[in-house]
Amino acid sequence: MNKLILGRYFPGESWVHQLDPRAKIVAAVYFIFVLFLANNWQTYVLLWAFTFIAMRYSQVPIRIYLRGVRPLLYLILFTVFLQILFTAGGKIYFEWGPIVISEYGLINGFYIFCRFVMIIFVSTVVTLTTKPIDLTDGINALLKPLRKMKVPVDEIALMLSISLRFIPNLLDETQKVMDAQRARGTEFGEGSLLKQMKTLVPIFLPLFVSSLNRAEEMANVMEVRGYQSGATRSSFRQLYWKHRDSVCLCVMITLTLGLLWLRNEGLFH
């Protein structure tokens, strides 16, 4: 359970740490969209280079990023597998009934794999280098324009920050309940699938109970302290757009231009 790195913050002082959360969120979301511009190996090399530079600049050890990919590995491989099977074209290496492994299939599968891993890496760069509270502040700021369309932006941000705030608690509590049930003789990760699923009940039930209790307490406390939805409020923490944040966005634009250029290069081959 402690191996889960999603939503954890890795304290540091790196260049990436000091970026404004808004810049980081915009850059990461933008990156996911630009990924779709990639269509040949040159563009993928460029994207990988960008990903690695971002990871290096965050000063977080690479093995931690690799650990972030591990839980999703099966999902990725499954998708890649489907892609390989259902893309036709080019040389055919293997054919058995409807199952065909072709050159294009393999290439496409590899590209899909790269895309997944890069998306995970880049979003992990953001979550590892940004405090959860800054992340929600950033999201809140970015969603502000939607307020005009009567979207309850503040409420959404509050919900997000409460959930993020309680992730560590929930993980700690999961660990505690798991320990307690293990002390009563439960063994996790052993026996048949059905047996393993049964061992989850003694974990999740106490967690649900305590989460519900906590939610109710939290609601009461907020009410007692005068929280009202829809009230205008100011923020204690202010976000400041700095020079380096503009640099970050410029890097993204340069990346796009590079991709567009390499993409067309590819067309001539």
């Binding site: 402690n2 977080v60 650990r67 320990d179 009563r184 305590s210």
Partner: protein
């Protein structure tokens, strides 16, 4: 049955996501004899709970080894030993009521015994007995554990551990958050269980009265190390050690020190309870 617990230069830490915590146990050597009743005290964060978890194979030593009875816990590979150790060592966690999950109280208490291979019928009998032991009316056994009060839940959770028939009982602040009456009831329950079954018992507590009243031996922990392991009376007799580690003393002992200072009379023995203090005062003729 010999149920010694032995720590050999045990060092341990927690792996926490990307960050490894500092050592929570640092080259701990320890021998707990069969049938002993040991209290563990120390400031918050000194590693008391971690010490208990290590006895149950929940926190693995990074270096050194732990021997419980005839099983050895050394690393992840000691898997075979875990099951045996966990059957022999019953662990009551801090706020154990948060581990309740089953539909009925009976099912919850049976959970442990069933996991260790006790047949259902026998487990149910044990559950009934355990409920009586913790002072609850066996008639409530078909009720949901969530419908009980905090103190009752605590008792059910403890019954769930006692039902495993452990030979070693380790408890992490079993009285925390209970009213004084509930607390002393739970403490005397543990003591009588300890005496009736010749258990080896380890109790983490913040309350020096508990130490003085129930325990024979005491361990003082500081920053992951065991700094004192002695008879309770020896510890409280030695005011230097008590002050060095910033410990409280039982009410009666504090009273004794005050009387000795005011009157200049030294009482013949170290008094840990009010009864002892009264006897000593009568002996020297101060009352």
């Amino acid at each position: 049955m010999v149920m010694e617990i032995k720590f050999d230069k045990v060092t341990a830490d927690y792996q926490l996501g990307p960050i490894r915590s500092p050592r929570v146990l640092e080259s701990v050597d320890l021998l707990l004899e069969t049938g002993s009743f040991t209290a563990v005290i120390g400031h918050t964060g000194s590693g008391k709970s971690s010490l208990l978890k290590a006895m149950n194979g929940l926190l693995l030593p990074r270096e050194g080894k732990i021997t419980v009875g005839d099983s050895v816990i050394e690393s992840e590979k000691s898997k075979k030993a875990f099951k045996k150790v966990r059957k022999q060592v019953g662990m009551v966690f801090q706020f154990p009521e948060s581990q309740l999950f089953a539909e009925t109280i009976e099912q919850d208490i049976c959970f442990g015994p069933l996991n260790f291979g006790v047949p259902l019928k026998e487990a149910k009998e044990i559950a009934l007995h355990a409920l009586e032991q913790v002072g609850l009316d066996p008639g409530i056994r078909y009720k949901s554990p969530f419908s009980l009060s905090g103190g009752q839940k605590r008792r059910v959770a403890i019954a769930g551990i006692l039902a495993m028939r452990p030979e070693v009982l380790v408890l992490d602040e079993p009285g925390a958050g209970l009213d004084p009456k509930g607390k002393s009831e739970i403490m005397s329950l543990i003591t009588s269980w300890h005496n009736d079954n010749q258990l080896t018992t380890v109790l983490v507590t913040h309350d020096m009265e508990d130490v003085a009243t129930y325990a024979e031996d005491v361990i003082v922990m500081n920053k992951g190390k065991i700094v004192v392991h002695d008879r309770v009376r020896n510890l409280f007799a030695n005011q230097n050690v008590v002050e060095k580690w910033g410990l409280d003393v039982p009410e009666a002992r504090r009273m004794q020190l005050m009387i000795e200072r005011e009157t200049g009379v030294t009482l013949p023995s170290v008094c840990l309870t009010t009864d002892e203090l009264a006897d000593a005062l009568m002996e020297v003729g101060l009352v």
